[in-house]
């Protein structure tokens, strides 16, 4: 049988879809509050830095970002196909590279926060 990367891609899609369904609306709401200057004490450098400096915080941030990225990349690949973009290999390559760059960037950012 030919090897397939479908289980990996599908597994990330499903796990990411679940994580992002639970957590992303609240994260977007917080970001909206920050964008609207809803509360000046929110989104301070110190508080977020303290959360990201903690190892548990690092694991949570990395997990949420990675799973959300790969979920979105896989689903958006299918979305583009459904909108009539049939160059699936090109689309998949670009989207998965973006997801990989995001994953690596998040990893090194977290590594440099002490």
């Amino acid at each position: 049988m030919a090897k397939s990367n479908k289980p990996i891609v599908w597994g990330l899609f499903a796990a990411g879809g679940t994580v992002t369904a639970f957590i992303t609306p609240a994260l977007v709401l917080l970001t909206l509050f920050a964008a609207m200057r809803f509360a000046p004490t929110m989104f301070t450098y110190e508080s977020i830095h303290a959360f990201a400096a903690n190892w548990l915080g690092k694991v949570i941030i990395f997990g949420v970002i990675t799973l959300s990225l790969w979920h979105a990349a896989h689903r958006f690949r299918v979305t583009l196909y459904d909108f009539g973009v049939r160059a699936d290999l090109v689309v998949a390559t670009i989207l998965y590279i973006i997801a990989a760059i995001g994953t690596i960037s998040a990893f090194f950012s977290l590594l440099s926060i002490h």
Partner: protein
């Protein structure tokens, strides 16, 4: 017998306008664009955070324009639509069997909504 089989014409780019069911499917799929874009925003924010207080402040200032607010509102709508549509199909995605019977779908969906509420509350309390 006909040698030419009948092939139904399906427009490649506008097929989903034909049925409300297809429209709902596409709406679900399009949420992935906003989830992805928002997550990339987080990746950039995290990078600016790692670079220091000044870099993080300039990230926040950039977010605080009308475009940032507009994007957040659109992303919020998309994220909520993703959550509700994702949780509403959980009974089909992971049916739970107890003996002969299957657990009622409403219980599985309800449990997901309850966890969603708790998680959202924790995130909001920690953020504010």
């Amino acid at each position: 017998m006909s040698s030419k089989p009948y092939i139904r014409e399906v427009p490649k780019t506008s097929w989903f306008f034909r049925q409300p069911r297809y429209m709902r499917y596409m709406a679900r799929e399009v949420t992935s664009f906003f989830i992805g874009a928002f997550t990339l925003l987080l990746v950039v924010g995290l990078k600016r955070l790692a670079e220091g207080p000044e870099a993080f402040q300039s990230f926040l200032d950039a977010l605080r324009g009308p475009l940032g607010v507009l994007f957040c509102v659109a992303a919020l709508v998309a994220a909520i639509y993703h959550s509700t549509s994702w949780f509403n199909v959980t009974p089909q995605a992971m049916p739970i069997q107890r003996g002969e019977e299957f657990l009622p779908g409403k219980m599985i969906v309800g449990a997901h909504y309850a966890i969603w509420a708790v998680v959202s509350l924790i995130v909001l309390i920690m953020g504010i």
